[in-house]
Subunit: 733 residues, 2 copies
């Protein structure tokens, strides 16, 4: 403690966050990666980052955007037919059941190109991308309704709905905002664009949303900035001046439940192939209202019961609390203070407001505690978090953060039953918090203990890649991720792959069409430690389509597949079938190999793609092996194997003499080891057959392979034995 | 402690690793990202990841592979004219001076496509990529000679040197390995391919290298596997059997110093445009020798004094220690046990070996301690690290890891003066160590305290992206990273950008060539919180080239720049000029905005690219502002500004009444705040000029802009005030 200059308080914080080997975090946080286009998963309270999930940006470690299956997902996200190779992810949202996180899906938006992605929490993979049919940007997504009926996505910077050029002189008439309700098909686990609808909205820059719940179920709330409809450029003052001049912007209140009924009744027309509820129709049907809100707000947050809504504006030191009951009454009584230039009724502030509380300079986003009425608001300019009571309207506590907090997040803090416990401040600037790593700094997520009356800073976590915008955290035990796929699985389409292959059934098929265009399909497999086939020969000009199935069942036994010069990089987790297709446009020699260090002989998990020149005729030479083996070599290898088997037997003896069945990890290792030993036996038989025929070259080699399987068995057995020793296994006989 | 189920030992480990807010790590580790194609930077002992550096794979957060400047770096790495969009990074190496890390550069290889990248540790950016002119894969790079004279890169899977197809039947005659010595130009900070040379080597799969030092200065050591020259495929046993049949492979010993003299003397010929020392020439000149080494090794590690070399093979339970003195004597006395099939002299094992020590099943890689003779070897199959004495040849201690360690790393452990203290085990499997996140698991780097006699496990760190292969760690105070660039800097070319722009000099220039192809160049700037110009109009079919200079000087004030539909995403750190070039192939409206949350009005940092259709004639309407302002609005805004100035003055009063000059962070903030206040004054003058003319629309808007600068000033002032309060500043008057 002294050696490292730590205080008593630091040691307490260390004890509250340190997670020893094998320990589990209580919560998993899912963070947007900002313009990295990914989702970042980290544990709370250890603040260790567990995974970057590829969403809008290709990522080779995962094979995302490299294998054919995930390329198909990214292709769904094309804009104007163009591949988009990044995203600006902003707001992740969990799927919900009765307003509680159900741990099944995560949704996240791309601001730069208005898109929503669906991530399956069964395998932490991106399964779908949908492109908004109306917008040209979208900061305000994703937010889900209490039973994941819909995923909300609002426009940000107004633009014409069509593809045509419209001059800025026609901004007020032809530029539009909007809020889209994407229908989620719970059975398919996918968004259904055909059943989704959009509210046309004025060219105010719509921003974040939140879905009503409980008392306000069926409604949605979307805030906005720049309701001045200011346009910068040339010698005019910049947007930042023109967009912050009015004291208030507008909170948009939309009735999605009634809107869905209209859609179902066939009363809504399609524009750009998608349902669009025009402002006129929305006003006529009583689906759309405006309420003044503090200027330049970010974050609109409905309380767990759905009775209150909190909004704060970065240029007002107050957080404003709205009463849903008051808003409802105003709507019921048709009591409005007027209409905006587009004819949308405006509810007067006094007819909607519960209270305003001074929380600090630059309040931004509010999250709820498990304690009723208690909330936390991030305060950007003052670089602090304010804990306050929105029922009584009083400040309870404040804590400095480092520096300039954007969003904040409490555990399950936007569900109907927040957990309290921890808060994370998503600071936009780190400045001097960490060792310097050049002009581009990491972000700083600060973990704060909120279990007591006073907030306490526990931990500073640097974000090494991306600029997280918002994070959501779920109780870890709500997640049930898989460790393997069913054998031969296309994980992106979530079904058996047509290219799945079983051990011993590997094949190469060449197909040519009428025009003489040929495709060589390789149906292959990977397993510790070889790729089958190890040599692939194709003809120059062929399209090559290699489909590899990982035959492993063991946890964490992923294999990779990379090839020289072809941008081929697959990640093939246990059970998965992944494909890569490319044009063999140049004759030559292309080594390939496994990219995941999977076993002691991983480096030897290799092969060659041979692309023969057009019209090539093999010279018919035979493959001359660099090394020749004799009967003595064979006998020596067999002796090694017999000795190795004795080691294995002693390890097996240790395991079976202990209560290993009480240790699921060991049971899995034993299963895997048993399988490897089976393979060893197959190799042994081949070896003996060749020896019987007097072919000691092949006999020796197969005896070597037999030994390789023994080494893998020993590896597993030793791991199991150590696990039993470290975890106090008992002798059973 | 009890609440979280921690033991006394855990608390000690927590105290040894926990780093409170603002604390610094003692070492920075630079890890390969494996097939993610990046470099990962993390702190030791906190094990917090600070940065992913884009190297071979485009990464949008950094703008890497998105801005024109970094696209030019990636373009250097094209293979056969084809863009390669990932890499399989394996071995990072620091630049050295007299065998010690000097903290200037980091080198790393790509295995999949044999390339080496140069990263400048001044700004943690990739500056150069070179493509090996001979190989088709390269696991064994990068390793540097003691004064960074050369960067070593060995071939892995043998292939023909030329582009032609060569059948496997000619493997022994026409497939080749090799080891390349890339010349590093210290003045330019770049590799000089023209002065680099390669040793032609047999088609043994060369693997890792290490440069001699001290006693062995001028020599290089490269190991290999599959010296059986086995080829798998069809019904033959797999590579893993055929490549592990012999008891020994070959350590290659090369004399680079003498080779460099030959090159300088014009005695080496160029092949594929690069110097190639053929095996015949190398043997004739006495530059190349082989020594038997344990089969399937990985890692060859020269001790700090250069007197001993340790190699271990994953299929032999011993680590083998060679004596350089013995090897030298054998060479001097021309005492060989024979030649390999390619005529290379083989030094007998007994004439090279110092000792063999049984360290466990599957030993892989060895690193040195600060204590003489003490080393650590990773043991893959046994899942442990063995501490042993290579002088005496005895094991000192062993510790279990979780699971299956590949490389390991001690602090500055491959320099001439290792620091000891910590060891990191780079485990290839995590299995059950962390909360599950789907079939694809994170890697697990375990931090081990080696300061005492017994090794102690401190921390498990998950790697969330990529599969690190090897890591090097440097004392943090050897690094002097910059926080900003000189204004208008092209960071990739390391010189002033021809497109740099100063405040007020922004311009748009359209240039057309003889064929009528036109390019619109935008010379723009970014600063809190606006992009200049905010509206860009170009004609359909134009090439658009937008060059943005970040005018900020403040630490961590990066701005981003994203645009709809065009794959535009720039990261523009303070001082940097970054460019994006694309074809405006479709008329329409393309919003753009800042992607780094830079200030309270970040969302308003926006604009539009307008692409007018061919032949478009403006209708000549005027821009009608959504909001009109009166003299009353103007006066109200001015009053706000006066009130805000009072707040600023009080904060300034606080700061200047304390010893703020003793706090560098505060001095920087005050500089930044003073600059912002200067901007506020400029806006105030504009505002007053318009008011004098009775133009209250513009007067109000500029008064708003004046206020925006005040808000930024207040933000900085409050941050400074908090810093002084938290760090015990004293009142000075």
């Amino acid at each position: 403690m002294k050696a490292r200059g730590l205080t008593q308080k630091d040691i307490l914080a260390a004890a509250k966050t340190y997670t020893p080997t094998g320990g589990r975090d209580e919560y998993l946080a899912f963070s947007s990666g900002g313009q990295s286009g990914q989702v970042i998963v980290y544990g709370i309270p250890s603040m260790r980052i567990l995974k970057y999930i590829g969403v809008f940006t290709p990522e080779p470690w995962q094979g995302y955007g490299f294998d054919d299956e995930s390329k198909a997902v990214l292709a769904q996200g094309r804009v104007d037919g163009k591949d988009i190779v990044y995203g600006d992810t902003h707001h992740p949202a969990f799927s919900e059941a009765n307003g509680d996180y159900d741990g099944r899906y995560l949704f996240i938006n791309d601001k730069a190109n208005p898109r929503i992605a669906v991530i399956d929490l069964h395998d932490f993979e991106t399964k779908q991308i949908v492109v908004n049919p109306f917008y040209r940007s979208s900061q305000g997504g994703a937010f889900v309704t209490p039973n994941t009926e819909y995923v909300m996505e609002a426009a940000q910077y107004a633009a014409p709905y069509g593809d045509d050029f419209v001059p800025l002189e026609e901004f007020n008439e032809k530029y539009r905002g909007g809020v889209t309700y994407w229908k989620f098909d719970d059975k398919k686990g996918r968004i259904d664009p055909d059943q989704s609808f959009t509210f046309e909205l004025p060219p105010y820059s719509q921003d974040l949303s939140d879905a009503g719940k409980g008392a306000s179920m069926g409604w949605g709330f979307t805030n906005s900035f720049c309701s001045e409809r200011y346009v910068g450029g040339k010698d005019r003052p910049p947007y930042e001046a023109g967009c912050s001049q009015k004291d208030t912007d507008f909170l948009h209140v939309t009735n999605w439940q009634k809107a869905a009924e209209l859609v179902a009744a066939g009363k809504v027309k399609k524009v750009n192939g998608s349902y669009l509820i025009t402002m006129d129709q929305a006003v006529k049907e009583g689906l759309l209202y405006l309420v003044p809100e503090p200027k330049s707000p970010h974050g609109v947050d409905v309380n767990p019961k759905g009775t209150h809504i909190i909004v704060s504006g970065k240029l007002d030191s107050h957080a404003w609390v709205y009463s849903w009951e008051k808003i409802q009454n105003a709507i019921k009584n048709q009591k409005f203070e007027g209409k905006d230039p587009y004819g949308i009724p405006i509810i007067a502030l006094k007819d909607a407001l519960h209270t305003q509380v001074q929380v600090g300079l630059g309040p931004l986003h509010t999250q709820y505690d498990s304690k009723e009425c208690v909330v936390y608001t991030s305060v950007y300019v003052d670089s602090m978090v304010t804990k306050w009571d929105y029922c009584e309207g009083k400040v309870l506590d404040q804590i400095n953060i480092h520096y300039n907090v954007g969003h904040l997040m409490t555990m399950e803090g936007d569900s109907v039953s927040p957990d309290g416990k921890y808060l994370v401040a998503l600071n936009k600037l780190a400045i001097d918090r960490f060792n310097p790593v050049g002009p581009l700094h990491p972000q700083n997520h600060q973990l704060i203990d909120i279990s007591g009356d006073k907030m306490q800073l526990l931990y500073d976590m640097p974000l090494p890649l991306g600029e997280p915008h918002y994070v959501v955290a779920i109780k870890a035990d709500k997640l049930k991720p898989a460790v393997r796929y069913k054998s031969g699985w296309d994980s992106r389409a979530d079904k058996k792959s047509p290219y799945k292959t079983r051990a011993g059934r590997e094949k190469v098929v060449r197909e040519c069409d009428d025009k003489g265009e040929c495709t060589t399909h390789v149906y292959g497999t990977v397993i510790r430690s070889h790729i089958t086939p190890e040599v692939i020969e194709v003809q120059e000009g062929d399209t090559v389509s290699i489909h590899l199935t990982n035959l492993e069942r063991a946890q964490d036994e992923t294999h990779g597949f990379a090839m020289y010069g072809q941008n081929v990089q697959l990640s093939i987790e246990p059970g998965k079938t992944a494909s890569t297709t490319f044009k063999a446009d140049k004759a030559g020699v292309y080594p390939f190999y496994c990219t995941e260090f999977c076993s002691a002989l991983h480096l030897e998990m290799q092969g060659y793609l041979l692309v023969t020149p057009k019209g090539y005729v093999a010279k018919g030479g035979t493959l001359e092996e660099g090394q020749k083996y004799t009967e003595a070599d064979y006998k020596k290898q067999v002796q090694t194997n017999v000795d190795t088997q004795a080691v294995i037997d002693s390890v097996v003896g240790f395991i079976t003499s202990h209560n290993f069945k009480d240790f699921p990890v060991v049971v899995a290792l034993v299963e895997d080891a048993t399988e490897q030993l089976g393979f060893a036996d197959e190799a042994r038989k081949k070896s003996e057959d060749y020896a019987a025929k007097g072919d000691f070259q092949n006999a020796t080699l197969w005896a070597g392979q037999w030994w390789q399987y023994q080494v893998k068995t020993a590896d597993l057995g030793l791991r199991a034995k150590t696990h039993l020793e470290e975890n106090g296994a008992k002798k059973v006989k």
